[in-house]
Amino acid sequence: MIKLRKPLMLKSKKGFDVYAVIIMIVGIWILAFVTISMFAKNNRLETQLGLGEKQLGLLSTYAAAEKALLFVDDSAKLAIEQAAYKYGKSGFYYSGAVCGSSGDFSYWANDTIIPADDCVPKTKQCYPDEPMLKWTLSTFFYYDLYDFISSFNSVSKIEIPFNYEQPFTVSPVVGRTEIVGISKEPVAITAPNVKYEVKPSFRESIARDVIGDGVSVVAVARQLAGEKEKDARSLVKAADGTGGLDWNEKFDYSKAESSCTYAIGSCACCETVETCEEGEDDPDTGEFVCKKKGTSEVPVDDGTEYRTVPYDSFDIPMSVKVNDPDSGTGHRQFFIYDEAAKKVVLKELEYKFAVNWVEDHPEDSSTSCLCGTGHPC
């Protein structure tokens, strides 16, 4: 028993400790590795960048891109104002109303009455709907923004790409008109070891809902056509002030009398011809000799019958402005570049349109027959 214990006691006291050997080897290896790494650096400390230099280089790249982005944002603000003004002035149509125009006013309703249509009044209506309002504003905005970006690119080393998803999104925001431009191409800035790309998208707005204004104006305009003067003025007076809009209560209500004449078909007319009431044959020549001449009406078929239809043409050109108590004139104003005057002027935001309709008087129409000799039967 005693013999067994001794060997056991010997192992536990002086037994070979593998763990300690491993730790020792690992420790020496780590120290050697660290020391060699310290002295054998490929990139000497003196040649490395200073504290934060890489980070500042990145920030500098961001700052360069920020210049371009700031210009895009500022340009979008100016472009929205210019676009809103043009949109109102053009009667909410980019290339002119399909119903025609009269001076500065685009027709939203325009009756025509022409002889070729038998003088039947034809009503043409071009009231712009909300999608048209947004499209018009977006189109004006596109070309205005393009001008701004082009002027920047002409002098800047950083080029702003003008490649946006079309059309620009006119977002519904209460009391504001917001346009969102999503760029498809980024602004690229290349610096040593850095290539930074950022898309010049934007979201800008003006403090007036011009789309909502357009919808309100069109709704009232639809009711105007066909109204008597007194009723039309009452309608405009009732709309005045609603939604911050200042309707021109002193608008011109013009009535012009006119008429339309059209051909309705042929009619019989008579022609006076010479006849012989009395005569006889010449015994010598055998020819008939008239002794007594007379005249007679002979019907001829060369006349055309016309009908003349009198009618009244009514015209209401209308201008609606936007109230703004902070403005010098009481109406919202924008700085706008006047192409004709070649300068920037302060102009009031104005929505302009016109409606026209006719009222004919068929009971007052008259017919007449016109023949070649002018002789009715």
Binding site: L56, S60, A64, L70, D74, S151, D326, I336, Y337
Partner: protein, 259 residues
């Protein structure tokens, strides 16, 4: 007896071998401390290497700061009429205390600027500072000489009222100084390069194009101090652009609080 012996043997080698474990831990700590000491600058690094490790380029920092400052100025919302007038009056009153704005905010000038802003709300209401600059250019382009001077004054004082700074300055009787960084605008630039870097931004110098509008309210300490110039383009209503330049002056040492 047997039981006691066995227990004694365990006790000799340490309960659960803790002595051994702690000795290994201490050994590991010593290794780590050595590694840390070796990596500390100054232990084996010389002065040149030390400098390379901790130095930084102040120029690049200041350039970035100048650009960021100008961008933030241009995006700043213009105050409404009440707040703007309040600031103008506040700075005018400071004139009496001998502040650096003493030469700019006299009674007559402040009155004219108020009249201008009152008569031209479209120039600043609802706009940011870059929109204000665009609007000023539109008014400037159609003004006579008197109108142009009014616009210059308006720009100078409104800019100071929006962006004035306060710095501790023990040389001043009141203990601090009010100032504003110089900003100048060229309404008809040919390029986007800094226009001048060796003269005062707003001083008329021979052969230099005068800025249409300029605001410079620096204290004496910054007259000859080093600066960094930032440039930004601002779109104008006529489709062109204006060049806005800002000079950024880091605060001098005398203004910084002592440790």
């Amino acid at each position: 007896m047997k039981r006691e012996k066995m227990l004694f043997k365990r006790g000799k080698n340490g309960q659960f071998g803790l002595e051994k474990i702690f000795s290994y831990i201490i050994y590991g700590l010593a290794v780590m401390v050595f590694i840390v000491l070796v990596n500390l600058p100054g232990c084996i690094l010389d002065k040149g290497q030390l400098k390379a490790v901790i130095e930084s380029d102040a120029t690049l920092k200041a350039e970035v700061k100048a650009e960021a400052q100008l961008n933030s100025y241009l995006r700043a919302q213009m105050p409404d009429k009440a707040l703007l007038f309040e600031r103008l009056d506040w700075l005018k009153n400071k004139k009496k205390e001998g502040y650096v704005f003493a030469g700019q905010f006299d009674e007559g000038k402040v009155k004219r600027v108020k009249e201008f802003t009152d008569g031209n709300p479209e120039a600043y209401v609802g706009k940011d500072y870059s929109g204000f600059i665009s609007s000023l250019q539109a008014i400037y382009a159609v003004s006579n000489n008197d109108g142009k001077n009014r616009i210059k004054e308006a720009f100078e004082l409104v800019t100071a009222a929006m962006f004035f700074r306060s710095a501790r300055d023990k040389t001043q009787k009141i203990g601090h100084v009010l100032y504003a960084l110089p900003i100048a605008v060229d309404f008809d630039p040919k390029d986007l390069k800094p226009s001048r870097t060796d003269y005062s931004l707003c001083t008329l110098e021979k052969d230099f194009k005068e800025f249409e509008v300029c605001s410079d309210n620096r204290p004496y300490e910054l007259f000859y101090a080093k600066f960094w110039q930032a440039v930004q383009a601002v779109p104008l209503h006529d489709g062109g652009f204006a060049k806005v330049e800002l000079r950024y002056y880091p605060e001098p040492l005398s203004w910084l609080p002592k440790p």
